[in-house]
C-alpha cells in the first residue's frame, strides 16, 4: 500500500479512473462487484482454461460460462424485483413462496386440461398481482414492517403451493414452459434472453421516466417524498407487485427448466440469495439509490464464485460459506465506521512514513 514503489504512470491511471467514476457516480457502486467478478475471471484464465470453453451443439451454445448464466437466471430475475423493493425501503421474503405458488398452480392447470400457454402466463401474472398486492397493502397501507408482512406471505404461500399439488411433486409437459426454461433463440438460451429483456424494460421504465427517482425518494425518506408530492404508498405497492411478478416469472422458468414442480422445495431460500445479490450489487438495505445492473453483477458474482470453487474441488454443500464471506466483506466495505478506521490508519501510516 506504500506509495514509494509505484511507477509514475500508475497514479495517473488511478487519477483518470477516479475522475471517471466521479463523473459517473452511478457507476461508483459497481466498482467492487465488478472488481470481484474480474478477479474471478482472472483466476479462471490463469488456472482453469476449460472454464471459458464454449461449445456449440445443434447451433446452441453450451459450456461452463453458459451454465453459470443459466444457473443464475432465477436469482437474477428475483434480484431485479428485489432491487426495487429494497430501494423503496423494504424487503421481500416471500419471493421463493410466490415462485412456488405460481409454479404449482401453472403445473396443476397444465395437467388438468388443454390450457394455452398464454392462459398459463395469465394465471401466473394473476398470482403475482394478488401476492404483490397483499404484501404491498400490508406494508404501505397497514404500516407493517416489510420483514413481517412478507414473512406472512412466505408462510402462507408455501402452504398454498403445497395444497395446490396435494403436497406431491407434479410433472409438467407444456411446450411453452419448456421453451421458457430450456429453449434457445439463435443459439442463446431463452431464459438468459428473458433476463436481458426484463432488465432492459425495467431499466428503461426506471431511468427514462421519473419512476426510478420516485422509488429512490421513497426509500431515502418516505415522509419527505410524500411532502414533495410523491405518492409514496402507491410507489411501495408498485414495488411489491413488480417484485412478485418477477418471482412468478422465475417460477415459470424454473418449472419449464426442471420439468416438474416440488412444491416444498421450489424457490426455497432463494429470497435470501436474491437479497444477497442486491446487497452485493451495491444497493443499500436501508433503501435509496439502487443499481439494477449492480444486482445482476451481484448475482453473477456469487454464481461464478460458487461454480469456480466447485470446479476447484469444493464440495457443493459447502457453497454457502463463500457466499457468507462475500456478504460480510460487502457489509464491511459499506460500513462508515470501518472506512473511518481505515482512513485514520492510512493517514497514520503516511505520517509515520513522511
Amino acid at each position: 500500500m506504500t506509495k514509494e514503489d509505484s511507477t509514475p504512470t500508475r497514479p495517473r491511471v488511478f487519477a483518470a479512473l477516479r475522475s471517471f467514476f466521479i463523473r459517473h457516480p452511478s457507476l461508483q457502486r459497481l466498482i467492487w462487484p465488478l472488481a470481484g467478478l474480474g478477479l474471478l475471471v482472472l483466476f479462471n484464465l490463469m488456472f482453469d482454461r476449460a472454464f471459458f470453453e464454449i461449445t456449440t451443439r445443434d447451433g446452441n451454445l453450451y459450456g461452463p460460462v453458459m451454465t453459470i448464466l443459466r444457473l443464475a437466471v432465477k436469482v437474477m430475475l428475483l434480484a431485479i424485483g428485489m432491487t426495487l423493493v429494497i430501494a423503496a425501503g423494504g424487503v421481500d421474503l416471500s419471493v421463493g413462496s410466490v415462485m412456488a405458488v405460481a409454479g404449482a398452480l401453472v403445473a396443476y392447470l397444465s395437467t388438468q386440461g388443454d390450457w394455452p400457454f398464454a392462459a398459463l402466463l395469465g394465471v401466473a401474472v394473476l398470482v403475482a398481482l394478488v401476492a404483490g398486492a397483499f404484501n404491498g397493502t400490508l406494508v404501505a397501507f397497514a404500516g407493517l414492517q416489510p420483514i413481517v408482512a412478507t414473512l406472512i406471505m412466505m408462510v402462507l404461500g408455501r402452504g398454498l403451493a403445497l395444497s395446490i399439488t396435494g403436497g406431491l411433486p407434479i410433472s409438467v409437459q407444456d411446450p411453452g414452459l419448456e421453451f421458457l426454461g430450456r429453449g434457445f433463440v439463435a443459439g442463446i438460451p431463452a431464459p438468459i434472453l428473458l433476463v436481458v429483456a426484463v432488465v432492459v424494460i425495467t431499466g428503461i421504465a426506471c431511468r427514462m421516466t421519473a419512476l426510478g427517482l420516485f422509488i429512490e425518494a421513497v426509500g431515502d425518506n418516505e415522509n419527505a417524498s410524500r411532502m414533495s408530492g410523491v405518492n409514496a404508498r402507491g410507489i411501495k405497492l408498485f414495488a411489491y407487485v413488480f417484485c412478485a411478478l418477477c418471482a412468478a416469472l422465475a417460477g415459470l422458468v424454473t418449472v419449464g427448466d426442471v420439468g416438474r414442480v416440488e412444491p416444498d422445495r421450489l424457490g426455497q431460500m432463494l429470497e435470501l440469495d436474491a437479497i444477497t445479490a442486491v446487497v452485493v450489487g451495491g444497493t443499500v438495505l436501508t433503501g435509496g439509490r439502487f443499481s439494477l445492473v449492480g444486482s445482476i453483477v451481484g448475482a453473477l458474482l456469487i454464481q461464478t464464485l460458487t461454480v469456480t470453487l466447485i470446479r476447484q474441488g469444493m464440495p457443493s454443500d459447502v457453497a454457502p460459506v463463500p457466499k457468507a464471506l462475500v456478504i460480510i466483506a460487502v457489509c464491511l466495505l459499506q460500513s462508515p465506521r470501518l472506512r473511518a478506521q481505515l482512513a485514520a490508519w492510512r493517514s497514520g501510516v503516511r505520517r509515520v512514513g513522511a
Binding site: 413481517v148 402452504g159 403451493a161 456478504i327 457489509c331 460500513s335 462508515p336
Partner: protein
C-alpha cells in the same frame, strides 16, 4: 390485577386466549387430546424450537433479528456427533464445547453488528450461510451418536402420574424458559435489553453498556441455538447437517405469535412459551384431523401470524395517543 391487564400486556393476553381456545377446541373435539401425555409431548417435540425461540426473544426485544439460529442448530448437531463419534470425546465435554462454539459464533455476529454498525439482518444472513456450510464441512452426512451416556440422557425424565415421563429435552426447555424469565425480568442485563429495544440512542445517552449488551444478546442467541442442537441430538441420537432448515422462520413466527413486537422493546419470554405451544399444537393437528396436512399447517400458521400482527398494530396505534 391492574398490572396484568395493562395495555402493553394485551397481546400476551390475546395469545393466552388463543392458546386456551385452540387447546380447548381440540380437547372437546378429540377425546384423547386433553391428557398429560399430549401436553408432555407438546413440550418434548418442540423443545429445540422453544429453546431457540427463547434466545431469539431477547434478540427481537432488542430490536434486532437472528436468521442464523436454524443453521447453528444444524452445526451443533453435527459437531456433537463428530466430537463423540470421531474424536471419542465424552458427550459431556462435547456438549460443553458445542455450547461454547454457539456462544462464540453469536458473539462474533454481535461484534460485527455492534462495532461496524452493520444491519443485523445481513450479518445473521451471512451467519446462516456460514454455519450451514460449516455444518457440511464437519460432516457431509447424517452421523449416528453411539454412546451410553448420550442414550442415558434420552432416557432421563421426571416421572409424572399416569406413567408419563416428562422427558429430558422438555426439562431442558423448561429450565431455559425459567432462566430466560429470570434474565428478562430480574437482571440488569434484561432491563438493558428492553431499554435498547425501546430506543437505542436513549439507552446510549442514559449511559447503559449498549455495546457489551448487544454482543451478549447475540451470544445468548447463539448459545440457545447450540443448546437447541444438543437437545436435538439427544432426541434423534444423531447429527445431520440438514437439520433445522428454515427453522429460524418458525422460531421468529413463534416469538411474534407470542406477542413480541419485531420493532423491539415490547414482549415477554412467557409469551414466547405460549407462541411455541400454539405452534406445537398446530403441528400435532394432522395426527387428529384427517385432511389437515402440512399445507394446512402452514396456512394456519400464516393466518395466525397475520391476525396477530394486525392486532398488535391496532393495539400499538390505539395506545400511542394516550401514551
Amino acid at each position: 390485577m391492574n398490572m396484568i391487564f395493562r395495555r402493553q400486556n394485551l397481546p400476551l393476553l390475546v395469545t393466552a386466549l388463543v392458546f386456551v381456545v385452540l387447546f380447548g377446541a381440540f380437547s372437546v373435539a378429540f377425546k384423547n387430546f386433553l391428557s398429560l401425555r399430549v401436553v408432555t409431548n407438546l413440550f418434548m417435540n418442540n423443545a429445540h424450537v422453544g429453546i431457540i425461540a427463547v434466545g431469539l426473544t431477547f434478540v427481537i426485544l432488542s430490536g434486532g433479528i437472528d436468521l442464523s439460529v436454524g443453521s447453528v442448530l444444524a452445526f451443533a448437531t453435527v459437531l456433537v456427533a463428530t466430537l463423540i463419534g470421531k474424536f471419542h470425546f465424552h458427550p459431556g465435554t462435547a456438549i460443553a464445547l458445542t455450547l461454547l462454539c454457539g456462544a462464540v459464533f453469536g458473539a462474533g455476529q454481535g461484534f460485527l453488528i455492534q462495532s461496524y454498525q452493520l444491519p443485523p439482518f445481513l450479518v445473521t444472513l451471512a451467519g446462516m450461510f456460514l454455519a450451514r456450510g460449516l455444518a457440511f464441512m464437519v460432516s457431509a452426512k447424517e452421523m449416528a451418536i453411539e454412546h451410553g451416556f448420550h442414550r442415558a440422557l434420552a432416557g432421563l425424565g421426571l416421572p409424572l402420574p399416569g406413567g408419563v415421563a416428562f422427558g429430558f429435552t422438555a426439562c431442558v426447555f423448561v429450565v431455559v424458559l425459567l432462566v430466560g424469565l429470570w434474565i428478562a425480568h430480574l437482571t440488569r442485563f434484561g432491563r438493558n435489553v428492553y431499554a435498547i429495544g425501546g430506543s437505542e440512542s436513549s439507552a446510549v445517552l442514559m449511559g447503559l453498556p449498549v455495546a457489551r449488551t448487544k454482543v451478549m444478546i447475540y451470544a445468548l442467541s447463539g448459545f440457545c441455538a447450540a443448546l437447541g442442537g444438543v437437545v436435538f441430538t439427544v432426541q434423534a441420537q444423531s447429527g445431520n447437517p440438514l437439520n433445522g432448515f428454515g427453522m429460524e422462520l418458525d422460531a421468529i413466527a413463534a416469538v411474534v405469535i407470542g406477542g413480541t413486537l419485531l420493532s423491539g422493546g415490547v414482549g415477554q419470554v412467557a409469551g414466547t412459551l405460549l407462541g411455541v405451544l400454539i405452534y406445537g399444537t398446530i403441528l400435532t393437528a394432522p395426527d387428529y384431523l384427517s385432511g389437515f396436512d402440512s399445507s394446512w399447517q402452514r396456512i394456519a400458521i400464516g393466518g395466525l401470524l397475520l391476525a396477530f400482527i394486525i392486532l398488535q398494530r391496532f393495539l400499538s396505534r390505539a395506545s400511542t395517543p394516550g401514551g
